[in-house]
Amino acid sequence: MKWISLLSKKRLKLIIYAFFLYGLAIIARLVYVQIIQHEHLTELAKANWDREIPFVTERGNIVDRENEIIVTNKLAPTLYFIPKQSDDIALAARQLAPILKADEAELLKKMQKHAYLVKLAPEGKNITEEQVEAIQALRIKGVYSGVDYIRHYPYGSLLSRFLGFTGYDNQGLAGVEYEYNKILTGNNAAIRLFTDAKNIEMAHVDDEWKEGEAGATVQLTIDLTIQQVMERELAQAMQRYDADQAIGIAMNPNTGEILALSSFPTYDPTNFKNVDSTIYNRNLPVFMTYEPGSTFKIITLSAALEEGVVNLEHDHFYDPGFTMVEGARLRCWKREGHKDETFLEVVENSCNPGFIELGQRVGSQKLLRYIKDFGFGQKTGSNIAGEASGILFSEKAFGPVEHATTSFGQGISVTPIQQMQAVAAAINGGTLYTPYVVSRIVADDGEVVVENKPEAKRQVISEQTSAQVRHALESVVAKGSGKQAFREGLRIGGKTGTAQKVENGRYKDGDYIVSFIGFAPADKPEIIVYVAIDNPKNHLQFGGLIAAPIVGQIIEDVAPIVGIEKSQEQIEKVTVWTDPIMVEVADFVGQTVDEVVQQHYPLTIEWHGEGTIVSEQMPAAGSKLMQQGTLHLYLTEKKHED
């Protein structure tokens, strides 16, 4: 019998301590894995367990300022297939193929994929509800229909070059849809299937519903009615003048909110694949830069008045039809010249030499500073995708000739939105507002994510100067080159513009952009409208003749919407022999089509809707219309009972 030595016992204890330390290491490791890394590993495990059938949540709507829906969604489910859950994939494919109008062999190949979940696309993507019902009736194992949507445009091509469109997976590809894609896209909901690692669904465990969130709603400052009026007028102009392009903007001059924004030609956003990318990628009011022409004279006028270098009523100017600047002969648009005129008449006549004189009185560096203060030469910050900044002369290159041409709007390049921004400041009391088109972004839960407020950049001219500018521009419409925009009882002010297009550094002969920028009422402007028609044909190419009447018509039609009341204090219109004869419109409401036709009324009548009885008319009875103007009559089937 031998005794255990102390050394052996000591060594055994050493071993026990070592094991004890190892035990502590185990506990430390468990603390690390189960407590410190708990959340991280939970995420990873969830991703590993996730077997989800996506339920696509709705993409956010795009609405106008009155919350009228402009773009929304239509239910169009998508099919999913879980191969492991099917007993007979070949049979399933044979049953599905005719309903989906798909090639059976190709479908079968897709359904035999080694994946837990196969999206049956494109065959089963965005199918109709009838198809879903037909498939559900077959009770095919492993086939699931997931909620899915396609974009729906209730107004078709309206505003399309601004709104853009979405692609195959409802992702925004152009315009607002692209720019605000992240905001409009929701978090998809899903049915979470409880399956084992081999994707077999477990019968005894209930499936979970994973909450999703619909995309946020983007509210625009656009007013749908104003937009519709503008697009109607521009569409007519495109047709009448066989124009290349047309641009229109309407804005609240006191806030910078854009009320209407249009580019022609338009396109159908559901059919973007067949449209040239230059159409949907170019939102003309912010993209296109060109010589502004005479509309730019408003800037020169504002600068001259603010600097106090002219008295419009008393100072006179003699226009022989041209001005010599450093040996260059700069001509007036009127070959024989306007002869002796007051400076108010210089504005009314849009007299080029007169504006050169005004520009010279202001001084070249000062004029350039005003131009920059009015926001030209840089982006307006409207946040509309694809905005250009235009081109100005640099201070160095701004010699006397450049100074002179700039005074009447030539030799520089600006965007329509810059002109709007600047002219709005000139007439609203002198404050330059950043134009904007998105007013609010509201999340699915009602939370307002973004709220845009009017943003005043700076005071460019004084309120008094602005009042003089308004008066001068009202008189342009009442007496001068903007006469075609005149409307009885509406105090419209404005300025025409005609600019030759520049191509490769040269003026293109016979190719003009004619424009008009108008606002109303002249004493306290509520709306400012700009229209430009690119290369109108079959007509004299002057802004006063083509663009002014369109702006006049738009302002007249939308006046009740923006709250403009008829005024008695209008500047008297000067009637010349070229002026159209005005016809007072009779009351047609309640009459039958035959009755109307038999009156041989001296107006072009445009019929809207179907039926035999006139339910509404535009303009209203009692208002005056040019003899060659158009009367819109809306028809219904039944006579009003009253």
């Binding site: 019998m1 031998k2 052996s8 094991f19 035990g23 490791r29 468990l30 495990a45 367990w49 477990m202």
Partner: protein, 366 residues
Amino acid sequence: MPLLTHHYQKLFVFCALMLTVIGVVFVYSASTYWSSVHYEGQTPFYIRQIIYFVIACIVFFAIIKGPELTEKKLLMLYLFSLALLIIVLIPGIGIWRNGSRSWIGIGPLTIQPAELVKITTLLYLSTRLAKVKSFERVVKLEHFVIVFLPALLIMLQPDFGSVFILVVTAFILLFIAKYPIKLYIFLMFAGVAGLTGLIISAPYRLKRIQSFLDPWSDSLGSGFQAVQSLMAIGPAGLFGHGFLQSRQKYLYLPEPQNDFIFSIILEEMGFVGGLVLLILFAILFYSGYALSIRAYSLEQFYMISALTTMLVLQTSLNIGVVIGLLPVTGVTLPFISYGGTSLIVIWLTVALIIKITNTTGRRSKN
């Protein structure tokens, strides 16, 4: 027999029983889905585990009531188990499973000779060590032969887990038996050198080490089990998902009732449940060592120390793998993991420890 020894014996068996019951319960939870998919229509694993436990109890009492273990009998048992190790290598008798030939089939029963040989080797080595006279040099070639003969045979199957446990336990036993420290320092260097040599000779081993250090780098390949185990343990947190609520047992973690059953326990019962299990193991091992320290003879001391160390080592290895402290090696968790041979041999070990304390105690009385 002193009261304290008796007290530790009871504590030792009590812990072993508790662990076995916990094992059956979690074999039920872990295996139900796995067996319904892979062994449809067969006797459920937990029922079989209960049957194995009944057999284990019979073995336990047979050993306790059986004849005393003399050195001669131990030599015979040692040689017998070596013979089994040779038989298992013969094609037709040895059964291939998971890439190694470790099982012998006798009718419906399959046994793993390696499990048995660990015990017989350690017991026989203990008697040989106890025979060394106090004035003699303790290091003897014979000791190495006793250990490496079965180790080499197991290597041929191959079953690295068993070899590792056998060899390391034997060296700990030699350490306790006053083998010189120099040998262990030398072994440490040799081990590092050998490992380096192995890695240089076959670069895939480096990859295996990499996948141990960062199992996520190859979470579908070599790191698969480690990653799946972490994804069971991590999300469980403090209290776990609750009994039967494991998610990873649904085929994510392969054979959840075997080597990785501790993952499922941690997943369902959380950190707290894991701690309870660890404490039970700790008490068991402490009792084992307490019994060996209180032994009356050197032989008894060596035997109980060796058998207890073997249990500790196997448990440590398994838990270390499950929680990602050690690279994956196929070792079961004593008492808990599903498996007939494993459970019976573990209980044989328990029985031997009790038997040895009894036997020598009685002998000292005589």
